[in-house]
Amino acid sequence: MKKSLKAALFAGCMALIAGGCLLFGDRSVSWLIGSAGIAVCGIFFARFEKKETTSGEIALAAVMTALSVTGRIIFAPLPAFKPCAAVIILAGIYLGAEQGFLVGALTALISNFFFTQGIWTPFQMMIWGLTGLLAGLIGDRLKKNRLMLCIFGALAGLCYSVFMDVCSVLWLGGGFTPERFLGLTIASAWFTVSYMVSNCIFLLMFVKTAERILERLRGKYGITKGGG
């Protein structure tokens, strides 16, 4: 009964998304992206709701989110030079993939309370969430190798910037044309580079601190990654 209900729900959602794609003509891609963002976040949030979580995990996720939002506020005078992505990646590495997603998605949602909530919010939630998720999945390798960490940070910055450009192009115009995309990418190249560089700098700067802090938490309060 329950399984069939779930299947029906899933099918319904898919149908809704597909229907939207068919119906909305040249805005179907935007519809697709928006609903994908909402769906991905929804799935993860539902999992989070169902899972047994310890108080330590919740508190750490909350505090990491607060930290990255605060970072975005503290560094507000410097455009595109933000520690958010770095904090999200560190959260993914040290707290686990799902926590990483949670921190990423909530960072986007909550920091937009303080800046402006826009139609890009679900999309941003998805991208940052996936950044945290991915960092968590390959976390063990990133922990060992600083170069890998740097590359991952740079890639995360690049992807964030490019995907946001794609998003803007899709909203801004009758469909996706390469020349528009190129124009916008070039226009925002400075931002892209700045995202990449700032991610690397912040990751290198904070990775050791984060490691020691988390170790301390484990030793003193018994708060550990995943389940424990």
């Binding site: 119906l23 539902a46 919740i58 607060a66 949670l102 949602l109 801004l172 601190t209 938490l217 708060i223």
Partner: protein
């Protein structure tokens, strides 16, 4: 609209947003934009409305001017730029785009005025109490962290560090402060976790209780909004969208859709206007 539950208010705005974003119709976008401004005017006063309106019009003008530079479809050629046609149709297309973009912006501003963070959490909490709890915890941490960072910075300066003003010194200072914030937040997380345990977290499922019960009028309101939104979108898909190329022509059902959409937008306007009126009269009386 405080008489309605937050969920109804959210539904009203989301409905309006959906149609304005996905209808691809000049008339609907225009109606939605104006209706959003009226809501803003009624709810937050003229200044905010004028500001939002001016910003929206600027966006419209920009998209209307820029779009023809990239897109050269359309029959009515106004002039040539770099030997490429600059068409009226593309311009109108850009205008529609700008209207729908800035209309969405206006409605999001309206949303901020209608539903505050706490009420938003109440809505979330209905579906996911644990998530709502996490978010409210985060919202509690943020001002503390901001204050902490300021205090840490002053403590360092008071102890003679970072007195220089060079950019590299600044960066060093900011990152040192942020590092200290990280250390503090870990302690804060540990403290919060203990406090959660001390108050029985994990022994039962979380009940989220800070929510408004839906009354009959909320159910009615939400169903009307849902119905109008769906019919608006369906009409738009069946042929309510404006055809821009090769020549601008209104869609088959465009007028019907615009009417449906206007009805949807007028609903919150009526409620807001009624409340506004009542406030004015009440304060005048006593």
């Amino acid at each position: 609209m405080r008489g309605f539950a937050p969920l109804s208010r959210l539904a009203a705005v989301i409905g309006a947003l959906m149609v304005i974003m996905f209808s691809r119709s000049l008339s609907a976008a225009c109606a939605g934009f104006i209706a959003g401004l009226i809501c803003l005017l009624l709810n937050e006063g003229g200044r905010r409305a004028i500001k939002a309106g001016a910003a929206g019009l600027a966006v419209c003008a920009a998209t209307a001017i820029i779009d023809p530079l990239f897109s050269h479809r359309g029959m009515t050629i106004l002039l040539f730029v770099n030997d490429r046609p600059y068409t009226l149709e593309s311009m109108l297309y850009g205008l529609e785009l700008g209207l729908s973009l800035s209309g969405a912006g206006v409605w999001l501003t309206v949303l901020r005025g209608l539903v505050n963070e706490r009420e938003m959490l109440g809505i979330f909490g209905r579906f996911s109490p644990k998530l709502a709890m996490t978010i409210s915890m985060t919202l509690g941490f943020i001002p503390r962290l901001i204050r902490k960072s300021r205090r840490i910075r002053e403590a360092q300066r008071g102890a003679g560090l970072f007195s220089g003003d060079s950019p590299s010194g600044r960066l060093e200072e900011v990152s040192a402060v942020f590092t200290a914030c990280m250390a503090w937040s870990a302690e804060a997380a540990a403290g919060a976790a203990q406090s959660m345990n001390a108050r029985g977290f994990g022994t039962h499922r979380v009940t989220f209780s800070d929510r408004r019960t839906l009354r009959l009028k909320d159910y009615l309101f939400i169903s009307i909004v849902l119905l109008l939104t769906i019919s608006g979108l369906v009409l738009s898909a069946l042929g309510g969208a404006t055809e821009f190329f090769p020549r601008v022509s209104f869609g088959r059902y465009e007028m019907a859709m615009a009417a449906v959409y206007m009805a949807e937008c007028i609903l919150p306007i009526i409620i807001l206007a009624k409340e506004r009126l009542r406030w004015t009269l009440c304060t005048a009386r006593g």
